[in-house]
Subunit: 596 residues, 2 copies
Amino acid sequence: LPSMQTSRSQPCPSFKLREVASMYFTMIAVFLVILVVALQGSVPRGSDFPYKVPLDPQGLLELSWNVSYPEQAVHFQLLVRDLQFGLLFGMSDRGEFENADLAVLWSDGHNSYFGDAWSDAKGQLHMDSQQDYQLLGARKAPEGLYLLFRRAFSTCDPKDYLIEDGTVHLIYGILEKPVHSLQAINISAIHRGLQRVQLLKPNITVPELPSDMKTMEITAPDIVIPSQETTYWCYMAELPDGFPKHHIIMYEPVITAGNEALVHHMEVFQCAAEFDSFPYYNGPCDSKMKPNRLNYCRHVLAAWAMGAQAFYYPEEAGLAFGGPGSSRYLRLEVHYHNPLVFEGRRDSSGIRLYYTATLRPYDAGIMELGLVYTPVMAIPPGEDAFTLTGYCTDKCTQLALPAAGIRIFASQLHTHLAGRKVVTVLSRDGREQQVVNADGHYSPHFQEIRMLKKVVAVFPGDELITTCTYNTQDRSRATVGGFGILEEMCVNYVHYYPQTQLELCKSCVDPGYLHRYFSLVNRFNDEEVCTCPQVSVPQQFFSVPWNTFNRDVLKSLYDFAPISMHCNKSSAIRFPVGTASQPKLHSKTPGPREKK
Amino acid sequence: LPSMQTSRSQPCPSFKLREVASMYFTMIAVFLVILVVALQGSVPRGSDFPYKVPLDPQGLLELSWNVSYPEQAVHFQLLVRDLQFGLLFGMSDRGEFENADLAVLWSDGHNSYFGDAWSDAKGQLHMDSQQDYQLLGARKAPEGLYLLFRRAFSTCDPKDYLIEDGTVHLIYGILEKPVHSLQAINISAIHRGLQRVQLLKPNITVPELPSDMKTMEITAPDIVIPSQETTYWCYMAELPDGFPKHHIIMYEPVITAGNEALVHHMEVFQCAAEFDSFPYYNGPCDSKMKPNRLNYCRHVLAAWAMGAQAFYYPEEAGLAFGGPGSSRYLRLEVHYHNPLVFEGRRDSSGIRLYYTATLRPYDAGIMELGLVYTPVMAIPPGEDAFTLTGYCTDKCTQLALPAAGIRIFASQLHTHLAGRKVVTVLSRDGREQQVVNADGHYSPHFQEIRMLKKVVAVFPGDELITTCTYNTQDRSRATVGGFGILEEMCVNYVHYYPQTQLELCKSCVDPGYLHRYFSLVNRFNDEEVCTCPQVSVPQQFFSVPWNTFNRDVLKSLYDFAPISMHCNKSSAIRFPVGTASQPKLHSKTPGPREKK
């Protein structure tokens, strides 16, 4: 291998890439055995790394990758613009640097080394006994050093992160000083950060696009990004007068060059049709100057988050916009994440809609699954993984879905700040058929619309069961369901076709049973929880003396009690389903890594 | 490789050993690719397979093995006395042929094949995508064919069984007809069976034995094994008059040649010292002829089960027997397992005790950990894995153990028929320190005294927490704690030194809290469970209308309620500890295969 120099002129060592042997290092080995690199495997052909994301806000580290489902592996290409004495790149459960799985490139000033490492609960680095970040190559270019490496989804090394569908928390660190060994790296003292991405992008065939396709860009009008960490920018756009019904069949981000690391996510909302007009606005969404009416622009037309690519509707369907009964007003919302507080950056980012006047056979629709927004569903304080489950029952799908069923092709998971995991499964005759969408590393700060790997067909009589896992360890009182940012939600917005009247299929516990719970807590604990009717459910929850028993019994209640079902048509008219006993799965199909 | 013939004269194919490639077979491959065998790895040196067990009652299959902890692998040597068209050998959770991990040798009448396979939930065989039973060799001998193969404890193949400490259920099957493919084997139609062994024997250095060591054989007096599947045979033996105190420092089985497959387990009990004499008896333990006084012979001196080797006491300790205050009477109990109902087999099996008059520094003792025998600890019906936990609290060890602590060197786990797993952990300052003994595939039919891999030191203030997992899926009413065979126990008899006065360190739930549970069930379920004081706890449990809520709340109660502690000296005198709040582990050390 040729020796490599970084592209900048500052003092830095020559980088001979070496690699630590995939050997088992016994405890008595004081120094690690270092072997000269034998590059493992072959470099992927061509420059096909279709996915790209900046890792740090300055854009010093830029990650591109591809996913090979036949190989069950990810190929990474990491561009290091300003290499100093090495870097860390890796993955961890929620972006923490403790208990992380890391590829480390480090230099002692003379030689450089590459190895698969892990950090323990205290953040101390250790060489992995099994080397699973396989270095495939390194290439110097004017823009920096390209490192190519490969990682299998699952390595069977218990110290390694298991790459799964959904959110992956990538972490990075930059070594600005030489280090004499991996163990000498003080992970808490380095320049470091995290980036969330959907690493395992679905391998979807791009549908054929019609020849009459047109585009429309909904972009910020050359604004100045505020010099503050977080800004939600609102900009109102308008469809042409008399714009007839069209189908949106695809959309993609338009990012102003140089701002790739600042534009965190963007959404285009359509405003409510009941208002004839909406005021123009271009400014921060939380400004007092923002007209209140903009709160009625909430129907999602398009959503993009960092690392996402173009979104395609299935060939048979498109998202209707324009025409009578549909508002001409659109609201663009851009979340700028500017932690380094750059000043004066101008931006015209937004979303490019691809649409056609030749309507496809079906209108696409969005349905809300999960829990009703009600305080009867609550999470005790101090929980690390409390789950709540919302049902879309067989009775509701029986009443509301067409005989030929619907096809779910995309999903957007939603909770507030305590959400940690979300999963929706499809159940038929009490048996789990398939997972609709699951995110075991869900973050409320990364709510993408995700195309599903496989379209899910749902028929009348099927059930859709959505379970959210919450962490309330930093809270001292119960977290109840509701709209507030410190209240919780458990929602999966599923995108499907053909559109039906069913807009919402959600549940909550039967309130009568919750009342029995409060009485039981009263009697069992020799403490007084006021169960008088004039006290609100949140107040009752706040007065429960939380201990493992009261927590466990609440869990048991939510697992056992009948549910109240909300099976709603548009404009909040319910299909008549009422209270139901809780759907139970008779058997679950074992997960991919479950031991038999 | 030479072609191999079986040793008998009956028609059978020549056995060219071939092996199925360790390749990933895609679903479209109609025929498996078979490669000529390339023997993997090297055959272990010497004939060192120290452990041996017959697999079937006729002794047609005999398994020997060794355990390499540095390699984390087991080497198997399987002697097939009467090879026909192949055999299956493998492991499964509890000895079932569904969801099993199997090495298969099969012949189509012309060629023979060897492969690592697995069976699905319906018992259908499939070739494993990863071949982890590695064939090391095959050897023809006058007594039959020897197959040598190797298996790592953990293979990382989700279809493979994970070999862990404790009981392993070995399964075997004999192919009596040619089969054209692995898939063609009808696993339910073949001659098959199971054998339980402790596969991962501890790698213990044999302590030095004194020169004045003597032996004494407690063996059946040339009896005729009854021609019935199960016999517990009782035989009374006597120590010589005036036999002074000695230390038993070792014991081993004495098995009559030819009966290796029939003698399932044996125990030597010492009788109670309060009776001056015991009647002679030699006959089945369940006979009406058996004198009742024999029920007072329950103090275990030695216990052996199939597949076990000699039992050694640690160098510093021995088990006292003989001398004043110790009964001269011993009872031998032999469990004969004779499923093929052989008639007229004579047997003189038993146990050979090795003892010395030169007393070692410490007497060894036995302490009972786990749950008190009381109906307040109960298991609802229909449970597949309900756990109950018994505590030996810090208060009790503080009062009863010497400052220098005790050393636990062996353990015998005990439950009745619903027991499926047992584990005892040592906790200090609320943190788990180590596992004392664990059996994740525990069977009530295989209760060996097991030497621990590592002696466990227990100090005053430590806690010993014993958890049992039960399966009551075949029961329609609650299983309460107690002495009856259909009641349950959760006990770990730990063998330790130096002997202390503490004979029993066990707990149960505070009965007052259980009473609150019955009241709560009453109120919540709108059904009447009689909580009046004249109704017994078992009756109250039997009248609970079991559903997931009542089950879960009972679980929560057992996790939460204060415990009543039994910290007993010999002759049932309690150390004064009383009721305690439940010890809680602040953090558990993650298991070896737990994801970080």
